[in-house]
């Protein structure tokens, strides 16, 4: 076998967990893939990279950036080298996420009804009632099967010793699942036979599971309930995802203007008149969903939809008001929720978090600011955060003032270095920081997680921020089957 330069030029930071490399040798799960890649010349790899780009472009897997009145099509950057997760690692992640979602669903039911967790003093009431995503409108209203979080995209990262941590619970309208599906399709095209040879588990079941769940949430128990996916429209950066999911599930893709509410029932306008809608998988935020109740200037929602929801005439997925559970200040209490509701020890750890509203914690964070990342509690997507290690004195000074003006809106976490994985860039393998977002689906029969997810990559060398809005890319994410099966497939 020709020894290619691929591995020789690969540099790993000693204080970082690398997914492929451990003490100068390739981890077992990566050996087959790396052997395969080493047989390809840089020219061939470049060709594969080009092919991947072309496939994304011609399939319209793009988002549009509007600049000076003209739309420019951009691809969400894709790295051709897959990220590989072993069967053991996956089993651990899967158990951890299931446990967490069980607790979070119980928490939402509790917080919107009896509020035992507040009365028992597990979570300070102040934190809940000051959360802007806590919705009084959701009180004392039974959602089907007590499920609030039907779809979640929980973000995981790995510390220097390889321990998995939960970074964020995305419980509102998590996006990116279409990239999990499309990245896999691209890998099939650019590396023929590589997937079966590595015994990689399939992710294609995702839309089927989601569809089955959506049907079961229908308030009318009829044979073919009408299920729609509500999108903000073609100018939304995730529009590609909305149309892909609608197509894969065979459900109608609607905009707010396609729906009307009459007598507390939701209808869609069709060429044959009005047709009643039973289940809405909405990709529109709470705040824009009903101009009568929330933001009155919203053009994306449907007037009266909340009353139809509360009457139980339509199911909305995910439920409204979930933001109270993925608020970054409430996040700190998820391990306590797990103990309180389930009497279990949390399987997946939280990153330790400081509340800047508490004076001692704030003092501590400010005096160790070089090792801290400060985030806004109700922002996501990498917006409004401060990386203490990379910020200038001036930026730190300004940010501190912002914090002091409104400390409830900020939390701080020690900077975690994130694990690295090989990426093919400029003709060689280079280590870049990554995270992992598996997609979990809650239905009447429990939580299901397709083996895979979205691995996001910080494309700039040394950067720890993987968000696509901050110049991140993605990788195909492989979860390997257990060893016995690997033997059979050969």
């Amino acid at each position: 076998m020709p020894i290619s330069d691929l591995l020789q030029s690969y540099l790993v930071d000693n204080d970082t967990w690398d997914e492929m490399y451990a003490r100068a040798s390739v981890r077992e799960q990566y050996t087959k893939a790396i052997d395969f890649l080493q047989q390809l010349s840089p020219e061939e790899l470049n060709k594969k990279e080009d092919l991947a780009k072309k496939l994304f472009m011609s399939q319209g897997i793009t988002f549009t950036v509007y600049n000076s009145g003209e739309g420019i099509e951009k691809i969400f950057p894709f790295d051709i080298i897959p990220r590989i997760i072993t069967a053991t690692e996956w089993d651990f992640i899967e158990r951890g996420i299931k446990q967490r979602l069980k607790a979070l669903n119980l928490f939402l039911k509790d917080i919107y009804s009896n509020q035992f967790i507040l009365k028992d003093g597990i979570i300070p009431a102040q934190i809940i009632f000051s959360c802007p995503h806590y919705l009084r409108e959701m009180h004392n209203f039974a959602v089907p099967y007590d499920i609030y979080v039907h779809i979640s995209g929980i973000d995981l990262i790995r510390d220097a010793d390889g321990t998995f941590y939960i970074l964020e619970d995305n419980l509102r309208t998590p996006s990116g699942v279409s990239y999990m599906l499309e990245n896999r399709e691209i890998t099939k095209r650019i590396f023929p036979d590589l997937l079966p040879n590595n015994n990689v588990r399939s992710v294609t079941e995702y839309p089927n599971i989601l569809y089955r769940n959506l049907v079961s949430f229908s308030p009318r128990q009829i044979k073919n309930p009408t299920i729609v996916l509500l999108t903000p429209g073609i100018y939304n950066s995730a529009y590609f995802e909305h149309s892909t999911l609608a197509r894969l599930m065979g459900v109608e893709l609607v905009q707010g203007s396609d729906l009307v509410v009459d007598n507390h029932k939701v209808y869609m306008k069709t060429t044959n008149g009005l047709q009643q809608v039973d289940v809405i998988y909405r990709r529109v935020d709470d705040e824009f969903l009903d101009p009568l109740v929330f933001n009155p200037t919203s053009m994306l929602g449907v007037a009266g939809i909340l009353s139809a929801y509360r009457k139980g005439n339509v199911a909305i997925v995910n439920a409204l008001g979930n933001g109270v559970a993925d608020d970054k200040a409430v996040y700190t209490y998820v391990p306590a929720m797990i103990k309180y509701y389930l009497s279990e020890e949390p399987i997946l750890k939280n990153v330790s978090t400081y509340h800047l509203a508490q004076e001692e914690e704030r003092e501590y964070v400010f005096s160790n600011i070089q090792n801290m990342v400060i985030k806004k509690t109700n922002e996501s997507g990498g917006y409004g955060m401060l990386m203490g290690s990379a910020a200038s004195d001036e930026e730190i000074f300004q940010y501190k003032n912002e914090v002091l003006a409104n400390p409830r809106e900020f939390i701080a976490q020690p900077i975690i270095s994130l694990s690295s994985a090989p990426c093919y860039m400029d003709g060689k393998l280079q280590a870049r920081r990554i995270d992992l977002r598996p997609y979990a689906l809650c239905g009447p029969d429990g939580v299901e997680i397709v083996p895979g997810g979205l691995t996001r990559v910080a494309l700039r060398e040394g950067s720890l921020i993987v968000n696509s809005s901050q110049g991140g890319g993605s990788k195909d994410t492989w979860v390997l089957g257990s060893q016995g099966l690997a033997g059979e497939s050969e």
Partner: protein
Amino acid sequence: MLSRVADSLYWMSRYMERADGILRMLKINYAWSQDDIQEFSWKPVLRIFTSLNPEEINGFSLNTRDVLQYMVTGKENSNSVLNIVTLARENARSVQDHITKEMWQCLNDFYHTMRDDNLAVALQKDDPITVLDILIRQGLIYVGTTDVTMARGEGNSFLNIGKFLERAIQSSDILNVKISGLGADDNHADAAYWKYLLLSISGYELYLKTYRGGFEIKNVVEQVVLSDQFPRSVIYSVNHLHRHFERLKTDHSNEGFDNLNFTIGKLKSRIKFSTSSSIIHEGLKKYLTEIRFCLVETGMSLNKNYFA
């Protein structure tokens, strides 16, 4: 089907038909411009396919490359092929789940071809026919892909309604503009004049086979308005429009359907029970204007009854 979806499918299809019409027209007129510098003018093309008024057309540079630039890649021209294909793609994008993935990819490829800077350069520097042929072929791939992959349901009916309505309007416009370039019953126009008119709507060979021996305005009218055999004739387009429209009929009565059915049926009989002599007798210009009015009325009625 959602009203918005039906609307988008209909317009996507109309725009694609229009792009095809413009491209063929440009190709043939370019060839003509190389052939006959005395008789040739770009004015009819601009009159048929742009929203410029007569004064603006008179002031427009009639340099061939300038016209091609304006008609194909011109950003400021709302009816340029670039803008039309962009609109078709935007419509397709909003109904991606109602067309097949192949159709979407095909429109997306067409769009990226139009956006390629090299295309605009080639149109100025190289052989325009080669460039136009590439674009015409992209359109044909769309037509073929649609035919082979699109499910024969309501969506397909709206695609065809859009396509044939647009085609009927185009054919009547082309004939109207070209004829009004002549005197009332001027049979003595240059043979090249008729030849290029027919070529631009792919009807030249059929004409030769049907009529042989020279051009007569009566025969041209017969083919472009009344021929059942000619796929771009007004009657052919209206018949197909009606056929696809009738498939929208449902079990429960729909007032909108009945109204439109009446409008289209009336138009169909008006054409069916005309002859080339009767048309010329009552005045070709008046006749074509009346037909066009009915076609536009059909479009507005669809809008009111199905898309609103």
